[in-house]
């Protein structure tokens, strides 16, 4: 196991991780530049552009710390640079953990077992790295065709995309929220309280025209939902 972690934390692996992280940052900056350039051309003021970006920053803080907490369990198995590389790109902690288990099984051992040598770890690395490219390859190949289909549909009926977008979002989040709510009492309370807070905050912000409140709405709703959900675990 020592041999494994030593190799997994060696300099070349740090360099591979740095390359991936650099590409992620590079991509975000490129899209930021392109969006900022396009915004005024479609009638978005520079104030709105800033507000949209700022809202993204505020709203992502909660989720990012949620992700950070699960990273800890991965670091002990995969080592720091590899965790950085896997979580920095597509793949969530549970997926990567299962993938690591599947890879170890394919070599005939288990994670953390005595037989988990460098070759077993290499099998895990192959499984996770190649398996994770599935999404990247599909998105790279087919996003353009999906876009062309969208253009065709919108040409026929310009209003239809509004209905499809809203319904798709509701469908996805209704399922995800249901799945969480059945996990237990405090999960259900957290979801319901957060949902109701969001409705109240946005209604209030829109009625009174308080723009900063709609930027903070998701962040505040998360805190209220988590706090009240957590209180229910104390009794």
């Amino acid at each position: 196991m020592d041999e494994v972690l030593q190799a997994a934390q060696s300099l070349p692996v740090w360099i591979f991780a740095a390359i991936v992280v650099a590409i992620v940052i590079f991509q975000a900056i490129i899209f930021l530049i392109v969006s900022v350039k396009t915004a005024p051309e479609i009638g978005m003021s520079s104030e709105e552009t800033k507000r949209a970006f700022r809202t993204g920053v505020i709203s992502s803080l909660g989720p990012s710390f949620g992700i950070a907490i699960v990273i800890i369990s991965l670091i002990t198995i995969l080592g720091a640079p590899f965790t950085l590389m896997r979580i920095g790109i597509i793949g969530s902690a549970p997926t990567e953990l299962t993938a690591a288990g599947v890879g170890a099984n394919a070599f005939g051992t288990e994670l953390g077992a005595d037989g988990f040598n460098l070759q077993a770890f290499t099998t895990v690395v192959w499984t996770m790295c190649l398996g994770g490219t599935g999404w990247l390859i599909f998105a790279a190949l087919f996003t353009k065709s999906l876009g062309n289909t969208q253009t065709k549909v919108v040409k026929k009926n310009p209003k239809i995309m509004v209905i499809i977008s809203t319904a798709a979002m509701l469908g996805a989040f209704a399922y995800l929220a249901s799945q969480q709510m059945v996990q237990g009492y405090s999960h259900a309370i957290a979801a319901i309280v957060s949902g109701l807070s969001m409705m109240a905050l946005l209604t209030f912000a829109n009625k009174k025209g308080i723009k900063w409140l709609s930027e903070w709405a998701l962040g505040i709703a998360l805190i209220i939902g988590m706090t009240i959900g957590h209180f229910t675990t104390l009794f």
Binding site: Q27, G43, I67, A80, I90, M169, G171, H187, G195
Partner: protein
Amino acid sequence: MSVRKEVESTGVDEEQSSSMETFHDKSHFWGRLTLWMVVVASLLPPLYFSFILDAHPGWGAIIGGLIGYASFIGIMWFLEPITFYPTLGRSGTYLAFLTGNIANMCLPCSASAQESVGAEPGSRKAEIAGTLGITAASLVNILVIIAVVFSGSYIIMILPEPVEQALNLILPAIYGGVLGQFALKKPLYGLIAITLGMAILFAPIYSLIKIVLCVVSTVAVCLYLEKLKESKARHE
């Protein structure tokens, strides 16, 4: 006067369409380039472990691992990009599928950014605002991850115990919050979605495709309702 106004507004619309076309072209170019770059970069670690560190486990084990991986989640390689495309759009898909954490971070941030500028979902403004929201999330997320990895989990350890426990509830809070935001706009759609979501959750179906099923059926029911409304309005 009214004719002229109409001509003017279509002129603006055309201008905006061509701006969006340029935006889409650029999204495809940079999106594809960065995605392929990461695909290539993903090959480096396994090749390094196999052939430089000489720890090659044999192709049999590797193929076995991949088959195991594909059978546990491979179907999502295709289904996820299709399911999330209608809400992410072109640029959002490239961003979200590179940075990951789509449902628990990218989509909520995209939706809040759209809400903060009052953009209607599916509109041009929504596409740009959503993209800005996701780029912000992608940057914040990578910085937080770097900080946690380099501090050797110190950042997590200094969190007070109750905060750490409350963070266990972050997922239901995120999903509930986003659901609330959209249900506020379309309460009827929201009711349909949550009914379908609960029904599908408890239905004896292969669990990975349940979310796709919920998205597709919600979209189908909502489109059908709109059609009914339209034909009713026409009859009156």
